[in-house]
Symmetry: C2
Subunit: 542 residues, 2 copies
């Protein structure tokens, strides 16, 4: 503003009219307004919001007393337990940064993460002790190790100086924590499981965590007091910011150490679960459960699904079982979901196939994402909104990461031209909804033609005998590359390579049909994504 | 953070990961995602969100072409029409500041506001032309006057250089507006109707408007696509930020030029209204409508009520008529509602009287208000949470105003000691809910004892013959002051001064009972608040 206008003076920030945005405030409010409402359920353990608040303050003060403060990293190797939830508040209350580690990683990668993230503390679940013991050996530096000794953990040993509960006992339940001086301060660190090279450390700030936590409420029309089942690992993008969302909505966190379909239906019944998030495998597991298990669920439940579009058959089965599914999309770099297939009421009148086609689209930006586009990554020209022209999906706004820790080269590369480059390829439909077509590296180039592996997979999923499918490029002397399909069949179903290839040729341009089909289980990440780099390696060696 | 920690370098703001918060983004998104969803209904006029977006862009570009930009004030004298809604987006899109003027003000006050706010433009509804003509004469400086020529306006004349629609026609519907460079930029200016002296200009910023717009969704569990009836004047605290809330929720704004109970029920029926806000008078008007009018409403409707606690009888009648009421509280300085009586499910099991007692409390902070307390305004010591000790209600956080325009003295006074001083007196209950007891200046001091006028009024409201009541201090030689009651009786009801005083003595400490009762209608502000300064003057002259 020009200095001459009346709004340019005498209207400054002060403690009465400005506070840094931080999701920690939602915990304080939940404890003040609903102190007795159940915050966390885990087996026989139950906490209320006032207790959760007091435990978080205890832990934060105990960490500070041990010298942990601003800019220090606290790493956690944990499952979906109360401790994981508490750490999402207690660590930033102490001014520190929470680094949740994927529980399926190998010891060498964990050791790399501890070193790169400069962790001062490692909180670790007893069940993870075999890999952590080896990781600590490889890490080889002094670090304060705290054990989560969960009665529900299977096996393992205590490795650390003290236990989580003993550390809590050192702390002050009335500890007066300070919000960050600047909302542009790191709150968490999430390493991406890159397919090549070392993982990159994605840094979130208090401002973004606050905004995406709230946006989850808007996106899902989340009411007060949801009962949320933790099918999504909290180590994955901080559980899509849902630990903070649940505090804002004063909900109940129902913990779950592992995705087990019997236990899930037991908890649906016992706790009256209303919401959950998960990878597509969770959803197909739910609908493929035996009828007597499924009968335990009486209430309608809302699910958020990410990472892959739900095929029509799954969508229909979910609807028949009263699961209301919202399809979302995002990356570790976007705090989890930042795009949603915002559902138009009139689409409910369409055929189930048409609904599946619409719901398979990733959709539109979250309310608090500033921009979403599909563009040529070199010229930065947006692609025409024709549903056909491929471009890179680009994001911008407050729910995009601060950057990669200690990696300015990768940060600058990801943020070039003022947008975050996702590396995902997609199209823009005429109605402004985006649809992913592939990862840039997953595109198969055969005889000079591009083949989208997702397009081929979508056809395979329509085959009645196929439960799961993944397509990768296989080197070929004549064509350069050809599509190679890996499929898992449904129980008691049979088919043949020739029959599947024939099915694809009936439903696709012939050059897009797989030249080879391999049967067996698909290798997956802990979040249910198929590990295509493993399949590409297998295809290469055949 | 210390410069040595790994998070202190290489993680800076850039266009990919930072955007200033502004509620204008919600309009862009609504138009992109739901272009055909109805945005505004006004008589026979209906707009969809894409049209509203295009009209706002037109207006913003037309204003810019006429030289209006950053830090310029655009004043509006308008009723709840589509133009008022559009101005909430178009004016800040042009970089300017929206100053909505209370339609019930006198010409001299309007002239003062135009001068003090340095308005460059005045947009004015034809119906307001008598008072505006005189205000412009008194103002006496050149200003661009634009007429809203609404077919539903009653009488009046066109005063300006051009009409609103003609100005729109000058603009570009694809205008690429710029968000503010800093979210700490003024978006609107609201003059408070002070009871003495000149009104003060409360300045809101983009950040606060964004946050409170979202907080309305959280507070009300507002679903997608609400149908919102504009019973609350948009000139009042920018309609409590609901113009922006409705864009975020992609709702439908049902306009209403004046609060008319037949028209309200017609719109309930015709438009399928789901939500509305209003002063207590609106709610009693709704339940006191004839049965055949009330029969038009088929659906449950949620109402937000502010400015006075609902007596038990009104609450019960509202519930019987399927109105679900949320009690909120705030001031012009807090963007409208910033406190809510967050309702605990188990309270539904209590008696209706007990529910009314609980619902009469103003409650707890909005999610995005950082702090709310009741304290001694001199020592700043919080009062004990005993539900009895009086203190001043204090606010702090992002939904507190930037300050008073060109009034650093009043700003500093209001923000002393790091809190916004509301001037309202209240108590803190043991469960952390606050309850207003009075404005500081409304307390009656009789024989050295404090008497809360609200306490006396609550008793009067329980009297079966009394429709409305207000109590003020009357000078008294012996006692200093004594309570004087002004009451309006229900139609066809009769009672006497002696009977009312006797009723109060049965339900209050005797010294708190009114010494005098005066019958007749109560003078009110445009927002339904009783103008106690008029009653105090009357009481003094008796």
């Amino acid at each position: 503003m020009s200095p001459s206008n009346p709004y340019s003076t005498g209207l400054d920030k002060n403690p009465a009219n400005f506070a840094p945005l931080t999701p920690l405030t939602f915990l304080t409010r939940a404890a003040q307004v609903y102190p007795h409402h159940t915050s966390i359920v885990h087996g026989e353990r139950r906490y209320a919001w006032a207790e959760t608040d007091a435990r978080c303050r205890r832990l934060a003060s105990a960490l500070q007393r041990r010298g942990i403060g601003a800019g220090d990293t606290v790493a956690v190797m944990g499952y979906n337990t109360p401790e994981m939830l508490e750490l999402h508040f207690a660590v930033p209350m102490a001014g520190a940064v929470l680094n949740t580690i994927n529980t399926r990683l190998d010891a060498a990668t964990i050791a790399f993460i501890l070193g790169h993230g400069e962790a001062k503390v490692l909180v670790t679940d007893r069940e993870a002790s075999p890999v952590i013991k080896e990781a600590l050996r490889q890490f080889g530096k002094p670090i304060l190790v705290i054990d989560i000794d969960d009665p529900l953990a299977q096996g393992g040993e205590l490795l650390g100086e003290t236990t989580y509960e003993a550390l809590l006992a050192e702390g002050d339940p009335t500890f007066h924590w300070q919000p960050p001086a600047d909302e542009w301060s790191a709150i968490s660190l999430n390493y991406t499981s890159g397919t090549t090279g070392n993982p990159k450390g994605v840094v979130y700030h208090h401002r973004g965590a606050y905004l995406n936590a709230v946006n989850n409420v808007l996106a899902w029309e989340l009411p007060k007091h949801p009962v949320y089942l933790w099918t999504l690992p909290m180590f994955h993008c901080n559980g899509w910011c849902f630990p903070w969302t649940l505090a804002a909505a004063v909900g109940t966190n129902v913990c779950l150490r592992r995705v087990d379909v019997d236990q899930i239906y037991d908890l649906f019944e016992r706790e009256g679960v209303t919401h959950y998030c998960g990878a597509p495998t969770v959803h197909s597991m739910l609908i493929n459960a035996p009828a007597e298990v499924r009968a335990k669920k009486k209430q309608p439940i809302k699910g958020m699904i990410a990472a892959a579009p739900p095929p029509a058959a799954i969508l229909q089965a979910m609807a028949e079982n009263q699961f209301d599914i919202t399809h979302v999309y995002g990356l570790t770099e976007t705090y989890g979901p930042a795009v949603m297939c915002d559902w138009h009421g009139e689409w409910n009148d369409l055929s189930i196939e048409e609904q599946a086609r619409l719901k398979a689209r990733q959709g539109v930006r979250y309310h608090m994402l500033d921009g979403l586009t599909v563009a040529d990554p070199v010229t930065m020209e947006p692609v025409p909104a024709d549903g056909e022209t491929l471009g890179e999906v680009l994001f911008r706004g407050n729910i995009v990461m601060m950057g990669y820790l200690k990696n300015e080269k990768a940060t600058n590369e990801a943020f070039r031209d003022g947008w975050f480059h996702s590396g995902d390829l997609g199209v823009m439909h005429p109605d402004g909804y985006i649809e992913l077509k592939d990862r840039a590296k997953d595109i198969i180039i055969s005889g000079g033609e591009n083949i989208s592996t997702i397009e081929v997979e979508n056809v395979l999923y329509r085959h009645p005998a196929i439960l799961e499918a993944a397509v990768v490029a296989r080197p070929d002397e004549k064509w350069g590359e050809t599509p190679c399909a890996f499929v898992t069949l449904r129980p008691d179903m049979e088919t043949s390579e020739a029959e599947i290839i024939d099915f694809c040729r009936q439903n696709l341009a012939h050059f897009k049909a797989p030249k080879m089909v391999i049967f067996g289980p698909l290798p997956k990440t802990s979040t249910g994504k198929v590990q295509k780099f493993i399949l590409r390696e297998q295809a290469r060696q055949i």
